[in-house]
């Protein structure tokens, strides 16, 4: 396949072109739009949670009409609240962030940025998307299962998750949850194999590894993380399923009984085994979400700073170090789990070790924009928002990573505030930055930038109101995953704060509607975009918007330089495309 003629492909019908496509660009957009739909569901669930936390005990007859079981009698049921907790977490971690960042941006950008015509295995790629869609339908099905959705949280700690008799939603709902996660895992693995193979074997001439845009490095490392971490979750899920339906006892010890006094017919297992297996996957999963966000933010920061990325090599090394260390820090979720306290010490050490490469990245982002000429476009604003929230959330992690202070902070809203800032808001801002940035390439039109700016300012103020307040509520002692904090007198100072957080969250949620409207309206109504509307340097900006089938013309581009030659002295413009040969720059 040395020459590739676009015109050799007959024009495909609508279904083959946009629905059952094997084109990586269509699959990437399918991932993004599906993940957006899941985000709407996950977001609505969180709004309902905030309604309950802000005004516990209030009757909502209108909501009873919509959720006759969840709001039976007008007040939210405790098991309904907990199923909201579980489903919000699961949907956002897997079906929004993992899907949109690796599935969406990964599929769309990898071939375009490395100069390839498609993924290494286009059919496998399509299969990965359809498996993902099936897993989305399955997880949504859990909401409608008999007994409702599972109530054990996205971490599904055993034995609560292993014993259907331990609560409503732990029966069919939990079974569907496990099935959905297994399907998602399969989909993620298919994607991961594809990404690694594509990135290693299909880079165009001149695109050495050390000339890759940082987004590509991030996606490469993420794919390796997924390949190593997802199978362990799958193994844990298989064992859990056998505990639930096969009568085995991997996670269930002997001598248990239900609240009604009925004995549980299991023996021999160990509940902490689930936590070890889950978090061995779970902590790399945090970085599966975070690394692509870091990559996207790095590239966008450099583009709109009009200045090269600071210390490209250290960016690559620090991402690799984070990836490696992420496999040996899982125990910091388990300091108070009954795990040997000596291990707690070891995990404190490794956890604070992982803070070093994270700090390196922060320095480098600040170094990138220092001395810059910043263009405050919407993608840039979100990228700057990413840096700010990553700093806040990253630093609050140090309280939790130190085992001694974790005694006070564990399972409080401090944890909720921390992980939302660092692995929800920061990746979300990077994803927003990415969507605003690559939307013109995806659809050939620009999004409305005024609406985008309003979206950013409300979101940035909103997330800090919500999640910094949560840190403070956590210090007061507000426990996470409780349906009604007014049960505890010592939480009296947080009652009012909860209302403030809820109102901020509603405003924050409303601002996202603006984004959705902007996104879908701009597909048809936005002003036409040129080939390179941002004056960026990477390969996708050398082809028409949107790029045709096969991405590049008859000849693949040849890469002559790294992706960060912004404001290069001697060059005519303040950016030099990756395809620009040094001789041509010199003579211009």
């Amino acid at each position: 396949m040395t020459t590739h003629d676009e015109h050799a492909h007959p024009e495909l019908g609508f279904w083959r072109k946009y629905i059952f496509s094997t084109d990586h660009k269509i699959i990437g957009i399918q991932y993004i739009i599906t993940a957006m739909a899941m985000a709407v569901v996950g977001g609505v669930l969180s709004m309902l949670m905030r309604l309950q936390l802000g005004w516990p005990g209030t009757l909502w007859p209108r909501l009873e009409e919509i959720f006759p079981v969840g709001f039976a009698g007008g007040a939210m049921a405790p098991e309904f609240y907990l199923s909201l907790v579980t489903m919000h977490g699961t949907i956002m971690v897997f079906f929004l962030f993992t899907a949109v960042l690796t599935g969406g941006f990964g599929n769309y950008l990898i071939p375009l940025q490395i100069g390839a015509r498609d993924m290494a295995f286009p059919l496998l790629n399509a299969l990965s998307y359809w498996t993902f869609l099936l897993s989305c339908i399955t997880i949504l099905g859990a909401l409608f299962a008999a007994g409702g959705a599972p109530l054990g949280g996205w971490t599904a700690y055993a034995p609560l998750s292993a014993l259907p008799e331990m609560g409503p939603g732990q029966g069919d709902g939990m079974t569907l949850w496990i099935l959905a996660i297994a399907l998602f895992t399969a989909s993620g693995l298919m994607g991961g194999l594809n990404y690694v193979t594509t990135l290693l074997t299909m880079r165009t001439k001149g695109m050495s590894m050390m000339r890759l845009p940082l987004t590509q490095w991030a996606l490469f490392i993420t794919a390796i993380l997924g390949t190593l971490a997802f199978p362990v979750l799958l193994a844990a899920g298989i064992l859990l399923t056998f505990d639930r339906i096969g009568g085995t006892s991997f996670f269930v010890p002997a001598g248990l009984f239900t609240a009604a006094g009925a004995a549980v017919e299991h023996s021999g297992g160990h509940p902490l085994l689930w936590q070890h297996l889950f978090w061995f996957f779970g902590h790399p999963e945090v970085y599966i979400v975070l690394l692509p966000a870091m990559g996207i933010a790095s590239d966008i920061l450099s583009t709109f700073a009009r200045k090269p990325i600071f210390s490209y090599k250290m960016m690559v090394y620090s991402m690799s170090a984070i990836a490696f260390l992420s496999f040996i820090v899982w125990g910091h979720h388990m300091f108070l789990s009954g795990m040997n306290p000596f291990l707690g010490s070891l995990f404190t050490l490794t956890t604070l070790l992982i803070a070093i490469p994270s700090a390196v990245k922060t320095f480098n982002w600040l170094g990138t924009i220092l001395g810059a000429r910043i263009q405050f476009t919407v993608p840039m604003l979100f990228a700057l928002g990413f840096v700010s929230t990553f700093i806040s959330g990253g630093l609050s992690g140090i309280f939790l990573g130190t085992s001694a202070s974790d005694i006070a902070m564990h399972d409080t809203y401090f944890v909720v505030g921390h992980f939302h800032l660092v692995m929800a808001v920061a990746p979300l801002f990077a994803a927003f930055a990415g969507v605003y940035f690559w939307f013109p390439k995806m659809f050939g039109r620009m999004m409305n930038m005024t609406a985008g700016k309003v979206h950013f300012w409300i979101s940035f103020v909103g997330v800090n109101c919500v999640f910094f307040s949560m840190h403070a509520a956590g210090v007061i002692g507000h426990l996470r995953r409780i349906y009604d904090p007014t049960q505890y007198a010592f939480l009296e100072p947080v009652y009012g704060m909860n209302q403030f957080i809820s109102i901020s969250a509603f405003v924050l949620g409303a601002a996202q509607i603006l984004f959705l409207v902007n996104f879908f309206a701009s597909i048809w109504l936005g002003p036409k975009a040129g080939v390179n509307p941002w004056n960026a340097t990477t390969l996708e900006w050398t082809v028409p918007s949107p790029p045709g089938h096969g991405n590049f013309g008859p000849e693949l581009p040849v890469v002559e330089r790294w992706a960060f030659d912004y404001s290069m002295p001697g060059a005519k413009e303040d950016f030099v495309m990756q395809t620009e040969a040094p001789t041509r720059v010199e003579s211009s």
């Binding site: 405790p78 907990l82 700690y157 034995p159 609560g167 001598g255 248990l256 609240a259 004995a263 297992g269 509940p271 902490l272 700073a305 009009r306 200045k307 090269p308 789990s337 009954g338 707690g344 404190t348 070790l353 803070a355 070093i356 700090a359 390196v360 320095f363 600040l366 924009i369 001395g371 810059a372 000429r373 405050f376 700057l384 700093i391 806040s392 630093l395 140090i398 130190t402 085992s403 001694a404 005694i407 006070a408 902070m409 399972d411 409080t412 940035f460 800090n464 403070a472 007061i476 002692g477 426990l479 995953r481 049960q487 505890y488 007198a489 010592f490 100072p493 912004y566 002295p569 303040d574």
Partner: protein, 275 residues
């Protein structure tokens, strides 16, 4: 294009973002130090050292937080784009990077050692002689406390004996004859160490005494010991801090710290009628 050097233009979005970040830093400091956003009142001996670790981490991360956010605010304010001007073209500074990495590493090492010193005090130190022992069993959705009685030895447990008020299946023959079971209430004596043996009969719970800075999972199939010394008399709440099912939010209890051993003994005796 003109080559850029020095500072750029102050733009409106840049200045707004800079001011927002500045306000945000001020609010964060207020949220971190104001009394109304502080821990519940401290009432145990070791709790002070947990709070100290928190304060030290707060100071260290607080400095890093203020420094980086304000630097970000400064940069976005002062380095806006100016028409037709390039940015500076530099992208390596090995020395600055080495200093920053080294500084971070040293700071974090200090934090590790300080934190681990306290961690060892709490988890690797035997309770002083002469304290009392109580067993706390978590079950959906209540705390069952058990005192060993005069013999000082807990009786055997057998899940088949669970019935009525025998919530944990206590075998009343042998050592269990004088065990005292109390649901939802636990007593201790001020300035006397308390060993708590934590168990669970169904799912994972977490035995949480906010005022004592005690928080420990209770794991079915395991028996985990923690100890603390209450320093203030009074009534305190016991909470469950690990999601355990639909009644998790109401799985609370009471810890009453008596002033004297005599008060405590009187209470224990009063419980005998319920056994």
């Amino acid at each position: 294009m003109a080559s850029g050097s020095g500072i750029g233009k102050v733009t409106i979005p840049g200045a707004v973002l800079g001011v927002l970040l500045f306000v945000f830093v001020l609010v964060s400091i207020w949220l971190s130090v104001a009394d109304r956003f502080w821990f519940p009142d401290l009432a145990s001996e070791h709790g002070g050292s947990v709070d100290t670790v928190y304060v030290v981490v707060l100071i260290v991360t607080g400095i890093a937080f203020v420094a980086t956010q304000l630097l970000l605010a400064y940069i976005v304010t002062r380095y806006g784009a100016r028409n037709g001007e390039k940015a500076a073209y530099w992208h390596e500074n090995a020395r600055a990077e080495a200093i920053l990495i080294g500084g971070t590493a040293v700071t974090l090492t200090v934090l590790v050692f300080l934190g681990q010193y306290v961690w060892y005090q709490i988890y690797f130190t035997d309770p002083p002689e002469g304290g009392m022992v109580v067993e706390a069993t978590g079950q959906q959705f209540q705390w069952v406390f058990r005192y060993p009685g005069d013999d000082g030895v807990f009786g055997d447990l057998d899940p088949t004996l669970v019935a009525g008020t025998n919530y944990i299946g206590l075998d009343r023959n042998g050592a269990g004859a004088d065990d005292i079971l109390v649901v939802g209430q636990m007593h201790a004596v001020a300035d006397q160490p308390v060993r708590v043996v934590l168990r669970s009969t169904d799912v994972i719970h977490n035995f949480h005494l906010p005022h004592m800075r005690v928080k420990q999972d209770t794991v079915p199939g395991m028996s985990i010991e923690v100890w603390f010394t209450p320093t203030e008399t009074g009534t305190y709440e016991v909470a469950c801090a690990e999601l355990c099912g639909l009644g998790h939010f109401r799985m609370s209890g009471m810890l009453i710290v008596d002033a004297t051993q005599a008060e405590f003994d009187q209470w224990l005796e009063d419980q005998l009628v319920f056994q």
